[in-house]
Amino acid sequence: MLIIDKYAYSNRLADSDPFLKFIVVVIALAITTTIRSIYINIMIFAMMSFMTTKVAGIPLDKYFRILSIPMGFLLISTITILVSVSKIDIFVYSINMFDYYIGITISSMEESIYIVTRVVASMGAAFFLGLTTPLNNLVKVFRKLHLPKSIIELIVLIYRSIFIFLEEAQEIHTGQELKFGYSNFKNSLRSTGLLLRSLFLRVLLRYKEMVIILECKLYDGEFKTGD
């Protein structure tokens, strides 16, 4: 089970108007992408995390743990912006390697801080929507926006597939772990390979079963939300 989905269905804002939340998030995203201000970005993030944790009631530690996953990617990509290479020493901090200087400039530092706050603000907004809105309510919004049926179908099926994927991977992993599949480095490598192989097969199998279920439930190419 995905923790994100659990909260989406059980938080205090789960039943609130999805359109309102969607509009709030779109406005927040529009502000952070158009107005170039670190303070506004920080304010948006603070507001969004306040609404997610205090208003919707998602535990603070869980919230930051979920947030830390994309933060990892953010940090790695920031380094590439922050650090540059030059033959002349134009850096605030730098190290000298052979004929080159590798370091940080004032403008790259400013740029990075700005980008980080912007991404964090956007993520706060996206997570607010994602963590407080059940999928079916999001689909309602997409349908109101006249998103093409096939796009909505893709969204719902991809969402469902992520679960199938994670559930199966978790099951295989537990099974392997109980058989000491991860007891040392060599075993871990082998087990990971096996996991990927059987994951592929099992996901295909689950996909077939899902298609049967959808047929029995008279699915006809469009996910309807009853409005």
Binding site: M1, D5, K6, A8, Y9, S10, P134, L135, N136, R160, R206, E209, M210, I212, I213, L214, E215, C216, K217, L218, Y219, D220, K224, T225, G226, D227
Partner: protein, 263 residues
């Protein structure tokens, strides 16, 4: 009702999963289909549902062979529906209400009516309190209730239940039995299982399937007296039959019948 007329089903690799299987759902109100693991029970169900197409023979609904085009199948599956063995796989949405409403929404039924039907179906499986719950928070038994409720919602004429008691605790098994009994008033039910005690009490006509072939059929009280067939299919006699044969007691259909008559 449904008649399966000498069908064969071949897998893609050529193995014959069903051999000359004939079944008549008019033989009883609750039909039992018993057989060991891999005997072809689920394959037969998928054939009856029109998900798989038999390589030989016909499946008839009200004396008309079922057609395999999209529209006919859609109509047919409103009349014939199935509860799958693993409720986790049957639930598509993460919220009980949405999951139950799904087939009705696909039929473009008005939301008010859907609400009524969801409530009625949940009441039938005694799960009304779960209506707003996310499905991940449910126990296995609760999920089973929801998946049975989800199949009831279509008001089908025929309900197929694949191993409805597997993985359930005794209390829940008993409840599934009483749900089946209630439902049999208004619709035809087919139950597959290798839980002999359950089948013996719940069903009135029974087919025994082994390695894709029907080995025997008959009313519950007769079928279980045939030791050879049961052994051949890897099954066992229900305990009520065993005590009838070994302790010289009359053959009772249920535990409560036995207890009432014991003096």
């Amino acid at each position: 009702m449904i008649k399966v007329e000498s069908i064969d089903y071949k897998y893609e690799d050529g193995t014959l999963a069903l051999k000359n299987v004939s079944i008549d759902l008019d033989k009883g109100k609750v039909i039992g289909l018993i057989g060991g693991n891999g005997s072809g029970k689920s394959t037969l169900f998928l054939n009856i549902l029109g998900i798989l197409k038999p390589s030989k023979g016909k499946i008839k609904y009200n004396n008309e062979p079922i057609k395999y085009d999209k529209k006919s199948l859609r109509d047919y599956r409103q009349k014939v529906t199935m509860v799958f063995q693993d409720p986790d796989k049957q639930l598509f949405y993460s919220k009980v209400y949405d999951d139950m409403a799904f087939p009705l929404r696909n039929l473009d039924i008005a939301e008010d009516e859907i609400k009524e039907k969801v409530n009625a179906s949940l009441a039938e499986v005694k799960a009304l309190d779960l209506i707003e719950k996310p499905t991940h928070f449910l126990s296995y038994g609760q999920k089973k209730r929801i998946s049975i409720g989800g199949a009831l919602i279509m008001d089908s004429k025929v309900l197929l239940l694949d191993e409805p008691t597997s993985g359930l605790d005794p209390a829940m098994s008993k409840e599934v039995k009483s749900i089946i009994k209630n439902l049999s008033q208004e619709k035809r039910i087919v139950v597959s299982s290798h839980d002999m005690d359950f089948i013996y009490e719940a069903c009135d006509y029974i087919y025994i399937i082994s390695k894709g072939e029907i080995l025997g059929e008959g009313v519950a009280e007769d079928v279980f007296l045939d030791k050879d067939i049961l052994e051949k299919s890897g099954l066992e006699k229900p305990w009520l039959v065993k005590i009838h044969e070994n302790l010289n007691l009359p053959l009772y259909k249920s535990e409560s019948e036995l207890l009432e008559n014991r003096d």
